[in-house]
Symmetry: C2
Subunit: 207 residues, 2 copies
Amino acid sequence: MVKNKKTDQIGTEATILAAARKVFTRKGMAGARMQDIADEAGINKALLHYYFKDKEKLFDTIFMAEAALFFPRLNIIFDADLPLFEKIEKFVDEYIDVMLQHPYMPWFILNELNQDADNFLKKVWAKTAMPKPIKLLQQIDAEVKKGTIRKVDPNQLMLNLLSMTIFPFVGKPMFQLTLRLSEKQFTALINERRKSVPQFIIDSIKK
Amino acid sequence: MVKNKKTDQIGTEATILAAARKVFTRKGMAGARMQDIADEAGINKALLHYYFKDKEKLFDTIFMAEAALFFPRLNIIFDADLPLFEKIEKFVDEYIDVMLQHPYMPWFILNELNQDADNFLKKVWAKTAMPKPIKLLQQIDAEVKKGTIRKVDPNQLMLNLLSMTIFPFVGKPMFQLTLRLSEKQFTALINERRKSVPQFIIDSIKK
DNA sequence: CATTTGTTTAACCAAATGGTTAAACTCTAT
DNA sequence: ATAGAGTTTAACCATTTGGTTAAACAAATG
C-alpha cells in the first residue's frame, strides 16, 4: 500500500472542500452544481465523486466541521466565569475573530436553519452543542436586580448583542453597496467593532 | 369579451403569488419547485404557467413588488426632517411594521444580494430606490460635532441600528430555538423592540 | 518492473424539473 | 345559447443535473 500519496490526497481533498464551501456559500445547497464545484477546484466531476460520495455528503462534511467550530465556542463564553462587561467584550471580540476567518459561516448556518430548523437541530446541534445562553441571561438578570446596570430585558439585550455581532457579516453585500465600502474599508469597519460594539452596549446599560 | 372574470383572475393570481412567496421563502429561488407552488396554491402546473410565463418571471414579480415596498420607505425616513432621536424611533417602529407584515422579505432580499449583488443592483435598486443613508449619516455627524451626543462613528451607529432592527427577523428560527420562544412570545419580543431598541440606542449615545 | 493510488476523459444513465400542448369541461356575461 | 376566459387532465418534450462506469494515463512506492 502507498502512504505518501496522502499528501496529495489531503491537498486535493482540501482543495475540493474550499471550492465547495465557496460555491455552497454563493449558491446555497440547492443552487450549487457539482460541476461548478469541480471547476472551482480545478478538477473533474469523476474525481469529485471519487472523494465525496454525493452532494449531501460533501455538504454535510463541510457544514459539520465548521459548525463544530462555532457553537461550542459560543457556550464556553456564555458560561465563562467573567464579569458581565468583560464577557460582552470577549464575546464580540472572539466572534468577530471566528467570523473573519469563516465569513461564509453565519450565512451558511442561517440558511440551513431557515430551510429546515428541525433537521438542523438533529443533524448539527445534536452532535455539536446547541447554544445555551441561559447562564448569560441569568447573569444579566442578576446585575439588573443588583442595580449595577440599567433595567433591561435580558432577552432583548441578547438579541442586540447577537444582532450587532453577526448581522454585519450576513448583510455584508448590502452594507458595502449602501455605505460604498471597499473590501478593505469594510474589514476595517468590522475590526473597529471589536471595540465599538461592547462600548456601545456598555454605554447603554451602565448606570 | 368577458370582464367580470377579473374577480376570479385576481383571486387566483393573488393565491399563486402568496403560495409562491411561501415556497420561495422556504426553499429559495433555486430550491423552489413549480409543482410545489402549484400544490401550495391548490391548482395545477398548467394553470400556473397560464398566469406566469416561467419561474423567473414569477419570482421577479413577487420580488419587485415587495422590494418596491421596502426601500423607498427607508429613504423617506432617512431623509426626513426630524431630530435624530425621533428619526431613530420612527425608523425602528416603521420597519418593524413592514417586516411583521412581510416577515420573509429581509431574508429574501439578503438572499438575492448575497447571490448576485450586481444583478440585484440593476434589477431592483435601479428601478425602485437604493437606500441612501447619507443624510442620516451627516445628521449623526453633525450631532457629534455639536456635542449633543457622544462621539460615535456614524457608520458604526448605522450598522448597529440596521442590525438590531433587521436581524431578529433573519435569525428568527435561531432565536426561537435558543431562547425557546413560541410564535406568540417571539412576536411579543419583537413588538417590545419598537420601544426597547430606540431606547437602547439613545441610552448609549446621549450625553 | 509491477502494483497501487490519484486523475483524466468521455460517454452514459436515470431522475427531476421547467415548460408545452391539446382536448375537454365549467362558468358566466352577453 | 354561445363564445370566451378560467381551469383541469394527462401526456409529453427537452434540458439539467447528480451520479456511474470503463478505459487509459500519471506517478510513486515497493
